[in-house]
């Protein structure tokens, strides 16, 4: 039963790392200052994932096209395993994501969240908010013409 909140937390963490701008992830990781002993289970690898859509948005799946993804898997000296999957072609970002995931699995989740993940989430939220605010301003407010008595 306790699997599920842990899984959700890990899922959320990996999602934040996957979408993080590479430069920000690198800067926050550098600032965090960890350099854990680790072994490469899978060295950073650039590849693709075939994105699928659905016919008519709800029907049969079809292959829309591929997107670039970089992945990496590491094992810390302690034995904790971390996986990083990041959008795009950035081996360093994938390795950083895997190390963050491994350290979080090893017990440092709270510290990593405060130092790296929360700032990334906030920045993503701010960016999203800025877009949503601009979209909202372009929403058409229809006026209903009411025929008045003249």
């Amino acid at each position: 039963m306790s699997e599920i909140p842990d899984q959700q937390a890990r899922r959320a963490r990996l999602s934040t790392l996957a979408q993080a701008p590479a430069a920000r992830l690198a800067a926050l990781w550098e600032a965090y200052g960890a350099a854990p002993e680790h072994e490469m289970l899978r060295p950073p690898e650039i590849g693709t994932v075939m994105v699928r859509g659905r016919a008519g948005a709800v029907g049969a799946p079809f292959n829309l096209g591929e997107m670039t993804v970089t992945r990496c898997s590491v094992r810390l000296g302690s034995g904790a395993v971390g996986h990083g999957y990041v959008q795009g072609r950035d081996k360093r970002a994938a390795k950083t994501a895997a190390l963050v995931d491994a350290l979080a699995e090893a017990g440092d989740a709270a510290a990593l969240d405060a130092a790296i993940l929360a700032p990334l989430r906030d920045e993503a939220r701010t960016k999203g908010h800025a877009r949503a605010a601009r979209a909202a301003a372009t929403k058409v407010e229809f006026f209903t013409m009411v025929r008045g008595e003249d």
């Binding site: 999602s15 075939m50 994105v51 859509g53 591929e66 997107m67 670039t68």
Partner: protein, 361 residues
Amino acid sequence: MYVAVKGGERAIDNAHAWLAEERRGDLDVAELSVAQIREQLRLAVNRVMAEGSLYDPDLAALAIKQARGDMIEAVFLIRAYRTTLPRFGASEPIDTGAMTCDRRVSATFKDVPGGQVLGPTFDYTHRLIDFALAAEGDLPETPQATPRAEPTPHVTEFLAREDLIQPEREGADTPRDLTREPLDFPADRPLKLQALSRGDEGFVLSMAYSTQRGYGRNHPFVGELRVGQLPVEMEIPELGFAIDLGEITVTECETVNQFTGSKTEPPQFTRGYGLVFGHSERKAISMALVDRAMRWEELGEDNMGAPAQDEEFVLSHSDNVQATGFLEHIKLPHYVDFQSELELIRKLRAEAQASHQEAAE
């Protein structure tokens, strides 16, 4: 007589060097950066991603720079690069209903949940060249409003609830992939949609336009056009659950088309569907119209002989890399082929001359 053709390596190397210089252009003019192309020519980047069938804005921008702005050449570069990458797997089908919409309009219903959101569109510009853009200048501040919290369900959902629109068929969880096996006819709908999404925008546009001009008769309405971001999710075996791999922008168009009906079925609207990488409206709408045109058989309609109804015609000619590959190859040396043509012509002329002289005597 055969002519041996050899060498040209030096000429080719020199041609490439000059190409690089032409690409760079006037040295007094600042060099274009990949980031500038990615940010400021975003719609070009979108087209290259869609037709290259690879979502990677930086890569598409680089391809455009390398191709000197020749979009099909850029798509060619992307397609070639893509073949060097291993495929990790396939995503869960994206849920466009959950899209964070930059833009969402419907031509069929004025008042829809989520409203008509114009987004950053060219639609209402007057198409007057803005000479002010020739100079670099400051951007005025963009107006903002409180972000909408309301959900934005698909318009077709409402028609479907009243049973007014044909339901979508289910399909195999693992759709066929035309990048992995040769395209065969008849092609199923998932393959057609894959081909249209990566097809040449000009070709798909022309095919769509032809249906509107009477080559095939669909009476399409744009039920909904939406552009925005959504997450891409994939199951990771070593984790045992699915994670978000990133976020992409897509454009989706759902058309509502003429209704069919039979002795047993009541009349219903039918659908066309377009989905493309990036903000690419013309392509998404065109795709929906051509999708609908190619569904004539499935929907029990007549084959009017229109080009857009002919799936073999549409799908065999929609890929611009394939098309230009064969087209442009005729520039390459065909000296031996032509030699034999020349000899044949000369022989025929000699024969004709001889028989002409004979007749004269």
